[in-house]
Symmetry: D2
Amino acid sequence: MVDLADAARRVLDAIRPHIGEGKVATYIPALGNVDPHQFGFAVAGIDGTVHGAGDQDVRFSLQSVSKVFTLALALSRGDEAIWRRVHREPSGTAFNSLFQLEFEHGIPRNPLINAGAIVVTDQLLAETGDALGLLRDLLRAETGNPDLDVDRVIAASESETGHRNRALAHLMASFGNMRNPVEQTLDHYFRQCSITVSVTELARAGLLLARHGLQADGSRLLSPQDARRVVSIMLTCGAYDAAGEFAYRIGLPCKSGVGGGILAIVPDRCAVAAWGPGLDAQGNSVTATLALGTFGSITGWSIF
Amino acid sequence: MVDLADAARRVLDAIRPHIGEGKVATYIPALGNVDPHQFGFAVAGIDGTVHGAGDQDVRFSLQSVSKVFTLALALSRGDEAIWRRVHREPSGTAFNSLFQLEFEHGIPRNPLINAGAIVVTDQLLAETGDALGLLRDLLRAETGNPDLDVDRVIAASESETGHRNRALAHLMASFGNMRNPVEQTLDHYFRQCSITVSVTELARAGLLLARHGLQADGSRLLSPQDARRVVSIMLTCGAYDAAGEFAYRIGLPCKSGVGGGILAIVPDRCAVAAWGPGLDAQGNSVTATLALGTFGSITGWSIF
Amino acid sequence: MVDLADAARRVLDAIRPHIGEGKVATYIPALGNVDPHQFGFAVAGIDGTVHGAGDQDVRFSLQSVSKVFTLALALSRGDEAIWRRVHREPSGTAFNSLFQLEFEHGIPRNPLINAGAIVVTDQLLAETGDALGLLRDLLRAETGNPDLDVDRVIAASESETGHRNRALAHLMASFGNMRNPVEQTLDHYFRQCSITVSVTELARAGLLLARHGLQADGSRLLSPQDARRVVSIMLTCGAYDAAGEFAYRIGLPCKSGVGGGILAIVPDRCAVAAWGPGLDAQGNSVTATLALGTFGSITGWSIF
Amino acid sequence: MVDLADAARRVLDAIRPHIGEGKVATYIPALGNVDPHQFGFAVAGIDGTVHGAGDQDVRFSLQSVSKVFTLALALSRGDEAIWRRVHREPSGTAFNSLFQLEFEHGIPRNPLINAGAIVVTDQLLAETGDALGLLRDLLRAETGNPDLDVDRVIAASESETGHRNRALAHLMASFGNMRNPVEQTLDHYFRQCSITVSVTELARAGLLLARHGLQADGSRLLSPQDARRVVSIMLTCGAYDAAGEFAYRIGLPCKSGVGGGILAIVPDRCAVAAWGPGLDAQGNSVTATLALGTFGSITGWSIF
């Protein structure tokens, strides 16, 4: 039997010497102000108990980790149509950008890269009228934090500097793969990325996937097949240009964000969240990556 | 001695059986309403005399032919800096798009493709505050038509459907190669493309380049070197994906537009404009291409 | 406790209705002669016991599955230099070809695509003088079949039709990333791919990786880190253009070949081999893919 | 009336201060031994009189200039089929390589880049059995030098280092666009490039195109349309990655080679050859480029 509280403590001990390593993201100016000497870790057991360590209650910017939950919401509508608008294969380093999107006629490679997540948000917005609202409601319910919300300063900063995301969205629009006006979809997209959570909250929300689609209140959001779909995409596409390296170091399905957070799922067992603001050259948190690798080894739950 | 009036008549005779051939552009909805059974031809001798034939006074949408004059205006400021923002080599069929722009770090291949012309407009706008106004003034002066103006319906239609141009501009912005807000530059760009002229007016305006940079009033707009630069770019980059075929058929420096107009320059001799709304598969006017090839043969001024 | 003998039987039962599905590979003519109505399955427990089902002793062409063992041999030399000659990230659908290799200066994306495996063979050949011999010896030892060998007809057929592999190798040579003459390396490469094995033999050989680098005779071939490296590359890069779909369907580190075989590894537990000649559109065996997915579900060893 | 003898003298005077500029090509080792302090210039009037200057009788390696004559030979067979195997548009800087060829299914962009010239040689070889022999015979007849031949040392050096050409040829073969064994075609191709000529000889041979397809003995090799085709391809595709810059500097249809030679055609008037071993960054001879630009200005025969 794995003792998760003990595992959390051991992870923190292992990471402590590395706290502060890496470089805080600056491409969104508002993200650059975070104190790099922070580290939080939390594991939520399948029964809902959360064991945290370090800065477990400090909130950070979800950024791309939000893509996992937006995808879950889109799939929860039982709508297979999304798979005509986005593929589900890795994108390949350095070609994850406009190039591939153009050659593949405006269909992004997977829902966890920016272009793909924009399409998923666009679909959710077209179907429901409020992509941000749905995500916020889901995360409030699953994290147990009714005040969870968007950081408006970061959202504004994202929007201001989001030229590449605008290029992606307009390119998709030119191929007929946008259903709402580009700026409207991007407004939801930028705000989704700017939601703040703590690792405690994020681990708790991740149980949605560890439980194969069941929400905290016991109701079903996703079919088991769709939950497996989300987790399998995390496994092969969750770390941008470093999917291979990530698999080697961690051996679990993960999604990272430039806010420094990473969410990992161990189906039937737990959801794990780690956070440290300092990033490596690929944009993944140095300490969170280390923490999840350590957790996989300690528990024996890594695929290796 | 070449008799230009006679040449114009002979060109019309040769083209008559082909009038109506090709497909009117529809990608900008407002362009699709033009009657395809029209054809205009005009040659302006170096002395300023214009000899026209057919629908020589019907106005059509300049579209990409405008890029030649915007480039001339940007160069007229004696500012070499523009060449740090745009290259001057052919783009290669089918790779003239976002792909090449991304791999070349947001520096477009030449000023006569869309991305390049957007950069030139952006430069002119940043330096002068009114890129459209300058172009309109120049064309009014050189065509001799003080009422020359933008077709607002077409400009609005261009803007509405301009997703690919927006993708290009935002991609350049993401590389730091835009000086004004994207929508502001595009507003000038779309309106420049939507200026209407007749072949008579266009041929007259083309004399600016046939005279190596001298304007109709005898003042110098461009240095001879810069005029040669513009004309040489027309020669190798004036026909999008069909530069080779164009060179073969015409053998003169040209610039075509999807409005069906083509401008050709014979330095020291004349400027020639032809117009027919029906386009071939590469987007070049069928009758205007034929007309300029015929003109080159009749006069012996083709390079071949 | 999982009963592997029972699992093998249940897999066969589940697959039986699908035997014969898919299309036998024909791009190498000699591969096209295989009877499609065959299916073999075998699982080798960590203790070395093998449980087979169906055509468990029929031999087939290893093809790309051989790449896993060639990589293991190259790494066994403790030589990190190979990682200067090949990356270890997924390649991205449809761009796994010369294109990516050219843009990345002749450094292939990973050792399990053709270009990467050619580099690994080239390295092994340069270091030892006999890449094929080493692989054959390793597989003879690990499969327990002293007569295991190359199918010369298939090897000749591969060589004859191997234009794309030659293009890859010469492109790498032009970037200085080949140490032996191209034809010499390719000769070893083609023959490695043409080795024949049964699923019983392949499962047994796969234990090398399930045991983190220990050979059948108890000696260490690979460090645990290098064994983990090989397995992690299988997880993200083992299925060409269908890595994402493979992860979803199977949830285990795998490597497939166009001969219809697939090898999967469950570290510390077992190695599994499945074979059926009929391939799906991505070149992966229909029945072998199904079989491994079924095995993952039955045993609960899939990552999901 | 232009005095060609005088023009040749004036060109030499203008170039003299620049002799020795540029870097001798070294990518083919045997080319690197040439003394850079040489310069030759010759113009052959339409009547056959040749006026030379400088090192007008020193022989150099034709290299890519040979592509013009191989193309003429292929077209001389009245065989339009070659245009199903090669396009005739510019290739675009930096994308002239395997990348474009792969995306365009093994059909090279034009006959004056390496891939295209290999296809033309392959076609000629398949149709006649001796591509090299035909080219040598043609050049012997047109240059008036019955001893004109291949430099075997250079041919061997080309073959030895020709990995990229092999990659191109095998890639085309993989698309079914090679009719002979790759090595056989390349053997002819490498030897064609290794033919040596003087500028006097090259200018004389160029009259074939200036006379719209008539050979020195008055017989017709090419139809006027095909001659125009060759010359138009020179205009847009004759200078690899510097077509635009070349057009600007020279304004005449040209073909350059890394041996330092350039051939230019002025239809109905003359053929011009210049040679200097020092190359600029794009691989075009510094002094030969300057010389042809000067010649165009002096004579007024530049298109500008």
